[in-house]
Each structure stands twice: as structure tokens, then as C-alpha cells.
Symmetry: C2
Subunit: 414 residues, 2 copies
């Protein structure tokens, strides 16, 4: 399907039906979709093999090919993901409170679906099922626009899910895929305000920037993370080393990985050699300011650009500061408002950092790697918002809802 107007109309109609759908029916459909993914595993894997063959022919990087690859186990993971969503509480329909006004009006605030959610993403085909599951659970119709690299896989997955929905007696238009992955179509998609209530880009910084700059539909910006760890003069060195090691190396290519260190001058002579030893044992290159380079010859001189870079690689930047104020100013200037941490034993420094760093998640004495829907206990995640409107930080089911006021009167006029 490539007629965007028809896709929009279908989604709008589906969203009306989804808004009225009982929890039981939604959960049963999710179960049937999960089963359908497993029953049709061979079809999906064959389609994926086509994408992989094209990718290899085009010389795609092996790390990207790995993201694109589906296996029996990964399909089981996708099906498991849908089943886990069944178990989550359905937020839709809850009336948060009803207040009675002096004139007797009862004013309540009711949780309702957003309506139609558009998702623009890159080459990971598992996003297709994940995003559908979260949107469906919250009564939203979803329009997916995946990357061209994964088009055969995405078509196969969407076909199977639509069959599962039909079997459950639900409208298959709860999920639709834009099969034409041309640039013109995505630009058209980003201006379909009449049909789409929110657009969520998931992918690299370039994709997200394009969507923010071109969309007239409200966007939830996700993902880019230039995360900092500030090692205060009072830090426990062993804790600081463990947290930095974990935040940088536990998984390199993720948005909550640490990309930049800020070290208090008072401890730099003693701490930096230990840090260099720890990170070089993990093959991490340190790009540092002049002072740090003079402390350790293993540091490479950093440029201004380094401090603003999300490496997603075996590189980290480092800056020495003379005070916590300088640290906070540096972080607020260069961070992407994602996740930043302080390592300290000092109560007032901890409080100051929590209050003054401007980010979705601010940590004391813990790894930035915890910024994640599952780690936060949301059970699932549609992405990590780095903007301030609507949702900030890891987004669970609640981020896919809005509210409406319901007002019950008996003839009140002004």
C-alpha cells in the first residue's frame, strides 16, 4: 500500500474502533499476533534473507547487518515482547479524578488513546512488532515507515500481524506499513496532520533531525544521547571506575552509553592514571583537554567538536573542571538532555547536580545505562524522549495516551 491518503483514512477509521475496544479483545488479539509470528517464522525469515542478501551485496557494515538480521530466536523474542505487553495494565479509559465545581459541574479527566501514531525508523525490523504492540495496547492505530534496507522483512511481519488481527476479529488497519520507502513519501507523511496525531522518529541523529525540521505533525524527539559522568572531588574512586566502565563499555551503540567525562581538578592527578588504565584495558580511546593530556600520555587531544559528539564507539571525551558549577555549565551546554551522572560522597553536591543539570534523567552514583523503560519498571518502551513536551525520558504505555475532559452537568450555563 502506498497511497498515503488512503492509509491515513484507514488508520483514522481503525482508531475509532480501537478506542471502543475492550481490554480483553485487545489482549486476545496480541496473543494471536504473537502466535502468528511464530507460526509464520519461515516466511518472515525468507523475506529477511532477501534483505540480508541485498545488504551484503551493497556492502553494508557488519554491525548494521547484525541489526537487520532476524533469527528464530529473535522472532521468539518479538513474540515474547507482544505477550509481555498483554500482562501490562491497560491505561485507557481510566478517569484520573472527577472534581465538582461550585456550580455543580462534575469535571473529570479521562485517559484516551492519542489516535493515530506514525513511526519512522531505520533498519531494525523488530521495531515493527514492538511499536505495533505498544500502540495497539493503548488503542492507537499505527502507520509504520521503516527503512528501505528492511522492507522485505517489514512487509512479511506486517502481513502476519494483520492476519493475526483479522483472526481475532479486529481491523487489520490497526497496523499499516508504507511500502514505498522513497524520500517523497516520507515528506508527504510528515505533513499528514489531518490523519496523524503524533510522529515518533526512531533511529540515528540524522533521521531525527530531518523529522524535527520537516514535520508539521507534533513530534516526540527520541534517542540521541551525549551522556556525561562527572567525577566530583569527593568521589569514591572504585565506584567511579566501575560506573564509568559500565556506562561506556557494557554496550557501545546505545543512547544511554556514556560519551563524555568531567573530572574535578583536585583529583585529576590521582584519578586520571587509574581511569586511563581501566579504559585502555577495554580499548577505549580518551580524547581529553590539554591538562589531562599532560597527566597521561595515553590521552589524545580533544577538539571542541569532541565534546558535542555521541560516539557510539570505543572513544570517550574528557574535560577537567575547577568546580561543580563549571561541570554543570559544561554538561548543560554539550549534553543532549538525555542522561547525566555525578559520582560523589557529598550531599550538597549531589542535590545541586540533581537540581541543576537539565536532562531527562539525572543520576547520583549510578550508571547512565539505566535510562530504559524496562529498568525503570515500565515493562516496555516506545523510545526515550529527549524533548520536554508531553513525555520526557523512557516512554512506556502512558506516553502513547492523552486525556480528555468529560463534563457532566444538569443544565449549567454561564
Amino acid at each position: 500500500m502506498t497511497d498515503l491518503n488512503q492509509i491515513g483514512l484507514n488508520a483514522k477509521k481503525a482508531s475509532v474502533l480501537l478506542n471502543r475496544m475492550m481490554q480483553e479483545k485487545k489482549n486476545n488479539a496480541l496473543r494471536l499476533c504473537a502466535e502468528a509470528l511464530l507460526e509464520n517464522a519461515n516466511d518472515i525469515l525468507s523475506a529477511n534473507a532477501v534483505d540480508l542478501a541485498i545488504a551484503e551485496k551493497n556492502g553494508m557494515k557488519s554491525s548494521l547487518i547484525d541489526r537487520l538480521r532476524l533469527t528464530k530466536e529473535r522472532l521468539e523474542g518479538m513474540a515474547e515482547g507482544l505477550k509481555e505487553i498483554i500482562a501490562l495494565p491497560d491505561p485507557i479509559g481510566e478517569v484520573l479524578s472527577i472534581k465538582i465545581r461550585p456550580n455543580g459541574l462534575n469535571i473529570g479527566q479521562k485517559v484516551v488513546p492519542l489516535g493515530v501514531v506514525g513511526i519512522i525508523y531505520e533498519s531494525r525490523p523488530n521495531v515493527t512488532a514492538d511499536a505495533f504492540g505498544l500502540c495497539f495496547k493503548t488503542g492507537n492505530a499505527v502507520i509504520l515507515r521503516g527503512g528501505s534496507d528492511a522492507i522485505h522483512s517489514n512487509k512479511a511481519i506486517v502481513k502476519v500481524i494483520r492476519e493475526g488481527l483479522t483472526k481475532a476479529g479486529c481491523t487489520p488497519d490497526a497496523i499499516q506499513l508504507i511500502e514505498d520507502t522513497s524520500r517523497e513519501k516520507v515528506v508527504e507523511l510528515m505533513r499528514m496532520n489531518r490523519y496523524i496525531d503524533v510522529l515518533i522518529p526512531r533511529g540515528g541523529a540524522g533521521l531525527i533531525r530531518t523529522v524535527v525540521e520537516n514535520s508539521t505533525i507534533p513530534v516526540i524527539e527520541t534517542g540521541t544521547g551525549n551522556c556525561h559522568i562527572y567525577v566530583d572531588e569527593s568521589a569514591d574512586f572504585a565506584m567511579a571506575l566501575d560506573i564509568i566502565d559500565n556506562a561506556k563499555t557494557q554496550r557501545l551503540g546505545v543512547c544511554n552509553a556514556c560519551e563524555s567525562l568531567v573530572i574535578h581538578k583536585k583529583i585529576s592527578q590521582e584519578f586520571i592514571p587509574q581511569l586511563v588504565q581501566r579504559l585502555s584495558s577495554k580499548d577505549i580511546e580518551i580524547r581529553a583537554d590539554e591538562e589531562a593530556c599532560s597527566i597521561s600520555s595515553q590521552c589524545v587531544p580533544a577538539t571542541e567538536e569532541d565534546y558535542g559528539t555521541e560516539y557510539l564507539d570505543r572513544i570517550i571525551s574528557l574535560k577537567i573542571v575547577e568546580s561543580i558549577d563549571e561541570a554543570i555549565d559544561h554538561i548543560n551546554y554539550y549534553n543532549t538532555k538525555h542522561s547525566d551522572a555525578i559520582i560523589t560522597k557529598d550531599y550538597s553536591k549531589a542535590m545541586k547536580f540533581l537540581n541543576e543539570v537539565d536532562a531527562a534523567a539525572v543520576y547520583v552514583n549510578a550508571s547512565t545505562r539505566f535510562t530504559d523503560g524496562n529498568e525503570f519498571g515500565f515493562g516496555a518502551e516506545i523510545g526515550i524522549s529527549t524533548q520536554k513536551l508531553h513525555a520526557r525520558g523512557p516512554m512506556g504505555l502512558k506516553a502513547l495516551t492523552t486525556t480528555k475532559y468529560i463534563i457532566m452537568g444538569d443544565g449549567q450555563i454561564r
Copy 2:
């Protein structure tokens, strides 16, 4: 001041200071600003007289001149508005809850200012003080871009408020006005993502559309209201007439005024003549479908366009439907997602309407005119959101805040 980059930098710096400011200091500053408005009333009124003289020379409509006009009483109202904001509870800094994860991490969600709020508005100079008051109370720096018609008034008001802030020991850059009201500057403003966290347009449909289509900054869409009242077959006629009369005529030019009626066919023969009598006594023209025109010769035939029009005038559209489903479909197609009401005695129709009409505020047996921050008990209002993201319906202080996660650990890693 017209250098937008400098204005953005100033606002960002001011927002850092405002984020740290105690409630007491903010309230004291609001009090001094309110006093400053009264003490400098003559300067503001003289500046307003310049705007009025230009407007009259340019042949501005008298209703618009009335919006532009400041008087001693209106200035007192502005000052009173700032004082009322002092009394409202300050939402900033509250930690909504702290949850403890299995690994011992304490994860809290803290209410924080948005940062820098941009407001683009038209000719009502009272917005200048109102918007400042609400943004300041919530720790946000505000950048104002008012209409060229009110530029002398706005400059005078902003100058006085900045003096009040200085007297209170606060940064005057908590409020800045863009004095160059050219189109180029407003386009530049709408792309200042580096400095502005949210843009709120306040004004007519054209202004709002321009901002939605051109802004790369997240926007909160406000205002346009094509509000419906559906008179169900079971409606109490006297109640229906009172509510329609109130919703249409109590104030014509407001977004929560009723612009369109939907009448069940079963009662149309009996109800429409009574309706025509009531509305014609208030000089309201009824533009109706063929069937209604055949019932009353005082109805004027409606075009398709009428059903989508926010008149803000002595005109109302009318459509006869055969069922509540047809009524809901009609309303969901033509409404602007603002406010819609049903008049009914029937419980299940009331519930169905509340559940299925897609609007910020859905009413049973009450006038749509209640969609308003004060009427909802918020104490103040920055606008009425007609979008689904972030805030929906009347926006009080809470809509000017966001949250950040604060995570307190003792060395946790993944």
C-alpha cells in the same frame, strides 16, 4: 531588542536562574511587577494611545480597536491578574513519587520548568502581562512576540515589568519582547530550537496555522473552536434552548462559543420552531440543511463549508441527523477537537457521547462556554490546547512544566 540570538541567549541564562529561584522570591517579584504596572499607568496608557491612533488612522474594525484599548480599569485587571497568580500553588520542584527498583535505585519524577517559552500573539496587550505572570511563576523565561498593532503598548508594559523584576532582585531577562515585528523575524524565531523549548501561538486560526506549519520548535496549538451541541431525541427542550442560547450568545467572539447544532430527526419538527424563535430574538442567523429549512422558513440553506466554519459571529449552522452515531460521526469530522456537548436525558447516549466524541472537552447537559481555566478551577490559563500532545483543553500552570527523572544510587551498574 531585535537580535534574536542575543534574546535567546539571555532567555536561556535567565531560565537557569529562574529554575533555582525560591517561591517566596518569585511571588515577591510578581507583587512588585503588579505594583509597577499601576505606578506607571500613565506611561502605559500614553503608549497605548499611540497604538490606538495608528489603528484608527488605518481604519481598524471597532471590535479590534476595543481589544487593543487599555484603560485604567484594564490595567488594574492586569495587575490583579498578576496578584492572583501569587496565590496559586507553585508546582515546581515537587517530586511526584520515588519508586525503589529491585536493585535499590531510587527513581523519582520531579516537576521542573520547561525552560524558555516563546509566545506569538496578536493585538491584545493584556496577554503580555498574563503570559509573563504564568511563565514566571513556573520558573520559565518568556520571549514575547506580539502583534505590530500593539507594539507601543507592549514595549511600555514589558519595560515596566522589567523594572519591577530588577527592583525585586530578579533578572529582567525573565521577560523579553521582540520589538521588530517583521515576518522575517518571526520565521527566525520559529526555528530557534537551540534556545526555545516550546512555542505557544495565541490568536486567530491563520496565525496558529502559520506557526504549526513553520515551527521546528515543539508547538502547543491553541484556540480554534468549532464547537457543537447535539440535541438528542430525549432532550429536555427548555434545557436545550437555555444551553444553546448561552453557548452561542453569551459571548460571540470566543473559542468555546457554540458554532454548530446537530438535532435528532425525531424531535426536529417540534424543536426547530422553538429554537428559531429563541435564536432570532437574539439576531442569530441559522444556516441549516434542506430538511430544517423546510421546517422553518427562517433558516438559510447551509453549504458544506458552513459546517466547518468557526463564525465568531451572529451565525450558527444546523444539521438534522437520524441517530446518535450519525451525530458523533458528523461532529468528529467537522469539529476542531475543542468542546462539544450533548443534551439528553438518556444515560447510555450520554455515556456513548462522552466516550466517542474526540475533543478536549466533552459535555453532557451543560454549555460549552465552561471550557476555560478559571471555570475548571485552575485559577489561571495560558490558553486552550486543541492538540493531543502534552496538554489538552484549558492549560493552567501545570502545562508550563515538564518533569525530569532523578535517580539516586549507591554504585549500581548494569
